[in-house]
């Protein structure tokens, strides 16, 4: 049978498999064929896996997720040729339920970026318009799902790397509550923030994939017990209290087309029975970005110290050990990791620690408290996910600070360890706009319920217009 990979959801695929209308191997082949046809234009994959391992729905994995026997580079030259000798827990959980890997998807180097332009292997392109970025860092997975090169996939999110590319490519993406998904075997960026999560074509697929990967893992001591995941059914939002944080919806730099689409979605939520009211997060938005760009680089500078040319990865030979380490790191890291290592090392260095890193940790407390206060009144908070639709390749590449602003609205909740769901809510200039739903810790089921009801009412078509 012919398989329309652009339209097929994971739930559809499970139905076909159950009725034996298609085999897992046939599905896997259909996606590899789509990759062969379209990935020269989109560059979602750094490498594909030709042999289907598993009889269920195929999956794309971001290249920060260790896959035994399959090269894993995190988009960096310093890991070129690195072939993991074990699976990340999330990869093992996908394998355990029979999801064959289609391939490893492109990412900004070490997941540091908002466009995939920081990948050492070249950028990915947005399926809605290949002159535009797919967002980042998980732009490869997001573009693969929206371009019909994967029914679903996994990303990782530190300050917006699942939610923002999902918004820019028109996918449903979940950044789960910190601690619900194991980080074991996932290339570390900032350990108090990193979280793996699902990207899919709709909320039910997203929930289903989350249920596969979530749960306590003895190999990651930061994991917690996770409530049973409920696949959303309801179409009413009756009784749900939704807060609209003023600062997150009126921030400078939000495009008018983005505001219009988000406002429309908020109106729909009201029509579906939700109690909607304005609220405030005054310091979370104003100070969130500064807080993040101290804490994340500080943790990154520590995590990336392991790339020293000794145990794995690139080595540039030299006469002495320290020269070898310094030359290896200069040759292996690209500009963005170097910038963040330098920034983080500075923020942690003697004389500056209290003023930068110490102060940022206190701001983090304020952000968590502000969100906790909002959740005394509301079940969920809503805002745009990204202030803009997908921007042009090259538009922000030369200005790190302009690029950092892409994550203005995704960062605050990440600092507080909160889950966030992106749901596509319309188009502006022919490009997808994402609605961000934020909930308290472990509120994924509420996010799925609200996201599913809104998705039904919004009737967003996730297939890029030019590919229909």
């Amino acid at each position: 049978m012919s398989i329309d990979t652009l339209r097929l959801t994971a739930e559809d695929a499970l139905g076909l498999l159950e009725r034996k209308e298609v085999s897992g191997a046939e599905l896997h082949r259909a996606y590899l064929k789509a990759v062969a046809e379209r990935d020269h234009e989109l560059h979602c994959y750094l490498r594909t896996v030709e042999d289907a391992q598993g009889e269920s729905v195929p999956i794309a994995l971001k290249d920060v997720i260790s896959t035994k026997g399959v090269e894993t580079t995190a988009g960096s030259k310093i890991l070129a040729g690195y072939v993991p000798v074990f699976d990340a827990t999330v990869a093992a959980r996908c394998r355990d339920v029979g999801l064959p890997v289609i391939g490893k998807t492109n990412t900004d180097e070490f997941a540091m970026g908002s466009s995939t332009e920081n990948s050492a292997y070249g950028p990915s392109h947005n399926p809605w318009n290949p002159e535009r970025v797919p967002g980042g860092s998980g732009g490869g997975t997001a573009a693969a799902v929206s371009g019909g090169l994967a029914p679903w996939g996994l990303g990782s999110d530190t300050g917006g790397s699942i939610k923002q590319p999902s918004a820019l490519c028109g996918n449903v993406g979940l950044r789960p509550t910190y601690g619900t998904v194991s980080r074991y075997g996932v290339v570390a960026f900032a350990s108090s923030l990193d979280q793996v999560g699902p990207v899919a074509k709709n909320v039910r697929d997203c929930a289903r994939l989350y249920s596969i990967i979530a749960g306590k893992d003895a190999a990651d001591p930061t994991t917690v017990d996770v409530p049973t995941v409920e696949l959303p059914q309801a179409e009413s939002l009756s009784g749900l209290r939704i807060g609209v944080p003023k600062e997150m919806n009126e921030a400078e730099g939000i495009e008018p087309g983005v505001t219009a689409a988000v406002q429309k979605a908020i109106e729909l939520a009201r029509e579906l029975g939700a109690d909607v009211a304005e609220c405030e997060l005054p310091r979370s938005v104003e100070y969130g970005l500064a807080c993040y760009y101290l804490i994340a680089p500080a943790e990154a500078s520590s995590n990336l110290a392991r790339y020293d040319g000794v145990r794995y990865g690139l080595r540039v030979d030299a006469d002495t050990y320290y020269e070898m380490v310094e030359r290896t790191r200069d040759a292996g890291f690209g500009d963005e990791p170097k910038r963040r290592i330098m920034l983080g090392t500075y923020a942690l260095s003697a004389g500056y620690y209290e003023a930068y890193y110490g102060q940022a940790q206190k701001v983090r407390t304020l952000i968590a408290r502000e969100h906790a206060a909002a959740f005394e009144t509301f079940d969920l908070l809503v805002s745009p996910t990204s202030p803009t639709v997908a921007f042009k390749l090259g538009e922000k590449a030369a200005d790190p600070l302009a690029m950092y602003l892409s994550d203005l609205l995704t960062i605050p909740s990440c600092m507080a360890g909160l889950p966030g769901l992106n749901v596509p809510c319309g188009l502006s200039e022919g490009l997808p706009v994402g609605l961000q739903l934020i909930g308290p810790q472990l509120s994924e089921n509420t996010l799925f319920r609200a996201g599913h009801a809104l998705e039904r009412a919004l009737e967003f078509d996730p297939v890029p217009e030019r590919l229909r």
């Binding site: 000798v85 910190y178 310091r283 794995y312 790191r329 170097k338 290592i341 090392t345 600070l401 810790q441």
Partner: protein, 99 residues
């Protein structure tokens, strides 16, 4: 300028990065601009606010209530652990002399 060339060189040493002359110049400008932006955190008086190092309040997650439950498990065989090593000598990672 929020950061001097001298400081950039010092931090590069701490971070074990051998930067090229071009990189030193570019990073001095870029880090200056970024530090100016992130210095915004110092506007707030937070003397009474405790720091947050982690979003979850977890304690003793590695410890077991019953030490008897702490079962040894096999670790990676040496040949597997060395599979990605740039240089190996016997059961050791081989590196150049430290001086």
């Amino acid at each position: 300028m929020a950061i001097t060339r001298h400081e950039v060189l010092h931090v590069a040493k701490l971070a074990r990065l051998e930067l090229s002359e071009d990189e030193i110049e570019r990073l001095t400008g870029e880090l200056g601009a970024i530090l100016e932006a992130v210095s915004k955190v110092s506007e707030l008086d937070l003397s009474d606010v405790p720091p947050t190092s982690h979003p979850l309040e977890l304690v003793n997650t590695l410890g077991s209530a019953d030490p008897g439950e702490d079962e040894p498990r096999p670790s990676l065989p040496l040949d597997v652990a060395f599979a990605n090593a740039p240089a190996r000598e016997g059961d050791l990672f081989k590196v150049p002399p430290t001086a």
